[in-house]
């Protein structure tokens, strides 16, 4: 009965998850003629610098998102239910606009002759710096950090705050000793949901990076655009492994009873 009910899901999963993965793996280990080769994998060493830079920027963006997102999620979760809905709507509103358009708008704002410099009458050079790319990642992916943490905190029994302060916790230590540990699963989801798109983005780095540096997403895009399917597949494959490892590490920190998270 159960297996019969699960059948559509399995078909779905095979068709849209397993098959594409197999295709990626197939291309990673073959050459243009379709013969087995390890050259693509061996060639990955050329991209080490790009990998490291991508990890660095994605990590920084994730940390910034967490530092901004956790207090924000906490504050929203502590409002009256009506205000919570309002704030969450505000947070979601920009997401109704396409990611590309939002990134373009950031370009218009930060450009050398852009909105910000015109407004302030300054000559800040922002586009093309690491900072601009990190800002773009934070701006685009912040809601993915806030939402799971908010959901998690808003589900915590309100008596937890009272019980903690009753037992001697100052308002700050209530958060550190009780609320933070209880929102760990939300934090893990948030970190994963920001880190994964950040490390694989190509659009943000292209536009806000001003073409001065390349991230792993750009590399993959370039490979496929120039029809180097096998190299592109190999880099994708390597990145997938990298992401899987990071998720595996993340799950080590989460409550084993909650079963960790699946992206």
């Amino acid at each position: 009965m159960r297996s019969a009910a699960a059948a559509p899901h399995i078909v779905w999963a095979v068709l849209f998850i397993v098959v594409p993965l197999i295709i990626v793996v197939y291309y990673s280990f073959t050459d243009r003629s379709g013969a087995f080769t390890l050259d693509n994998i061996k060639g990955l060493g050329d991209y080490t610098q790009i990998f490291l830079l991508s990890v660095e920027l994605a990590l920084i963006a994730t940390i910034v998102c967490f530092l901004v997102g956790y207090p924000l999620a906490y504050i929203i979760a502590r409002q009256k239910p009506k205000m919570q809905k309002f704030y969450i709507m505000l947070l979601m509103l920009p997401m109704w606009t396409n990611l590309l358009i939002r990134t373009y708008s950031l370009m218009a704002i930060f450009d050398d002759g852009g909105f910000l410099n015109t407004l302030l009458g300054t000559q800040f050079h922002i586009i093309g710096t690491k900072g601009a790319v990190i800002f773009g990642m934070v701006y685009d992916f912040l809601p993915y950090m806030v939402l799971p943490i908010y959901t998690c905190i808003s589900k915590i029994d309100p008596f937890m705050w009272e019980a903690a302060s009753d037992l001697g916790c100052s308002p700050l230590s209530v958060i550190v000793k009780v609320i933070f540990p209880l929102s760990l699963s939300g934090i893990i989801s948030g970190i994963t949901m920001v880190f994964v798109p950040s490390i694989s983005t190509f659009y943000i780095s292209q536009k806000l990076g001003g073409g001065t540096f390349e991230l792993i997403g750009d590399t993959i895009e370039r490979q496929f655009a120039s029809n180097a399917l096998n190299t592109g597949a190999a880099i994708s494959f390597a990145m997938m492994i990298l992401i899987l490892i990071s998720i595996w590490i993340m799950n080590k920190f989460s409550d084993p009873e909650e079963g960790g998270i699946i992206v």
Binding site: A163, L167, G168, L184
Partner: protein, 370 residues
Amino acid sequence: MARLIELKGITKEFDGEKVLNSIDLYIRDKEFITLLGPSGCGKTTTLRIIGGFEKQDAGELYFDGVEISDVPAYKRHVNTVFQKYALFPHLNVYENVAFALRLKKLPEKEISERVSEMLEMVDLVGFEAKNVTTLSGGQQQRVAIARALISKPRVLLLDEPLGALDLKLRKDMQNELKNIQQATGITFIYVTHDQEEALSMSDTIVVMAKGEIQQIGTPTDIYNEPKNAFVADFIGESNILDGVMICDKKVSFASHTFTCVDGGFGPNEPVDVVVRPEDVDVVPVKKGMLRGKVTSVTFKGVHWEIIVDIDGFKWMIQTTDYVAPEAEIGLYIEPDAIHIMKKSEFSGMFGDYSSFSDELDELSDADAVD
């Protein structure tokens, strides 16, 4: 005994609705005091003000002679057992109990000794490493008590702590709580809507209704000498009748003049008369002071509970002798079974069993849980 906590003129409103109206109350050191009343009477709000989780709009709160209204909860020498326990799900039994001591950064050895001592007291030795979410309601309750008592507070606040437990367990825990209170000498402030619980555990009962204190007294005082119709009805079963105090020790109700033991009322002053169901004797019609017709008979184990119609007023009477439904019977009431109360805002609202049924009673009880 010294006054440990004193409330003076405590008033609290929620959204313009007065939930506490100028409460004056003092709590003695080492006593077991119960705030008793139906839901919405303000008992929990009173407790939360003492605990520091709410702040009163007006009035003063003294702890050991010091005004503490502005002292935050975490700095008060008061700990709480919450209604739904509020144990920390990310910590095991040991760490839940040790929580308050860890905050004080006590040495590990002392923490371990005191946790063991607490777990022994609540009979949970061997449960140290268990996850609190896997425990039964009664066990969680014990963890909550141990967690609240480990920092040796002067006062323990208990907010309907047994509300979620089944009857048998609740009786056991009542005894255990009373024993813990006597062994530790800590002042217990206990909130409940269960009058039986209040009667069996407390040194002092504070009966509350409509945000006001109706009566403060020992369990026997409250039961035998209720101050008004509300208290008489809320604590135990009562027949409450309109009466007229003819003179001292003479009262007229149900078209009959009775001898009673109360006095001090004005001549012909209208009063409320309370007669407890167990204090009425069923006698043959000829010997009765009152006569009436039995309208319903319910077997309650220890006694029969019968409803008797006397000139349209339905009395509840508990008797150990079987009486047939529809039978005509006489009733005999001893002078000391009659309790006279001044008229109050609650007069005429309670004490007639004409609409009485067990089903309704249970419904209203379930209603009162929250």
